[in-house]
Amino acid sequence: MAHQVHAYHMVDPSPWPLTGAVGALLLTSGLAIWMHFHNMTLLTLGLILLLLTMYQWWRDIVREGTFQGHHTPPVQKGLRYGMILFITSEVFFFLGFFWAFYHSSLAPTPELGGCWPPTGITPLDPFEVPLLNTAVLLASGVTVTWAHHSIMEGHRKEAIQSLTLTILLGFYFTFLQAMEYYEAPFTIADGVYGSTFFVATGFHGLHVIIGSTFLAICLLRQVLYHFTSEHHFGFEAAAWYWHFVDVVWLFLYISIYWWGS
């Protein structure tokens, strides 16, 4: 058997890029078909295929790192760069929606009444549920840092407890935000105020759900002894993502909820 003389990871041939690409194709074309012909077949198929791809691809990465030892320091460095670049791309994604918000709110048109919030819009009180949401996410930032230190110090039970608390806080945020959406006196169809509000906060909420899911996977892996005190990059990536989600909320709160009211 030939042995490699370098520290890099030559991955086994994998079918997941192909299945993922077809899944993305089905999702996008399925979305178009659903909108025009009210048929959900392609869309559903695309969603299932993407979920299957994500599960198996990430399962394989866990196998390669934790069970096969392929995540050497240079490989881990590459994974770190990758996660940082991904989060940076997400920052630009949100920047677009903030641009849209400021474009409309800094110079409100006569059609809106020349003011912001526009005439007829009752904005949400920033010092009620939105402030609670801010506290919840800030607290979750503390608990995820507590979880990280627990992992680094080899305190298994504390790591499990603090990680669980972080996830619960994430769910609490999602629940509170869902209630706010239900009770809001305006909808997405209420002009540019509704559009900017619900698209920006909606995508943020989606990222909270994604982040909570990532943390939940990390909790499962921590329970299964995958993380060591020196090597737990999966958890670090989840924590970085969670802090990013928290920071986006702070910008949303200050811009849309507070200044925008």
């Binding site: 994998s14 079918p15 899944g23 074309s29 198996q56 196998r63 934790t66 299964l224 002894y225």
Partner: protein, 78 residues
């Protein structure tokens, strides 16, 4: 009277199972997994876990082919 006895029995069972779940520890199966996935059997990582891997792979691939075909049909129909 028997209803009270049944409730009491249920309470005892609940107490016993809760306290035993507190003491239950998840076993560290990582060394076993490491042995399975480091075996020199030429299998790629996405199939190395056993027959469940193959089943899931075949299902995913079948959906991929089906999906691609359905998409092509719809595109040409349009």
């Amino acid at each position: 009277m028997s209803m009270y006895r049944q409730f009491y029995a249920l309470q005892q069972v609940a107490r016993r199972s809760i306290s035993s779940s507190v003491r239950r520890q998840v076993e560290n199966k990582v060394p076993q997994k490491q042995k399975v996935f480091q075996e020199d059997n030429g299998m790629p990582v996405h199939l190395k876990g056993g027959s469940a891997d193959a089943l899931l792979y075949r299902t995913t691939m079948a959906l991929t082919v089906l999906g691609k075909y359905t998409c092509l049909c719809n595109c040409f129909k349009l």
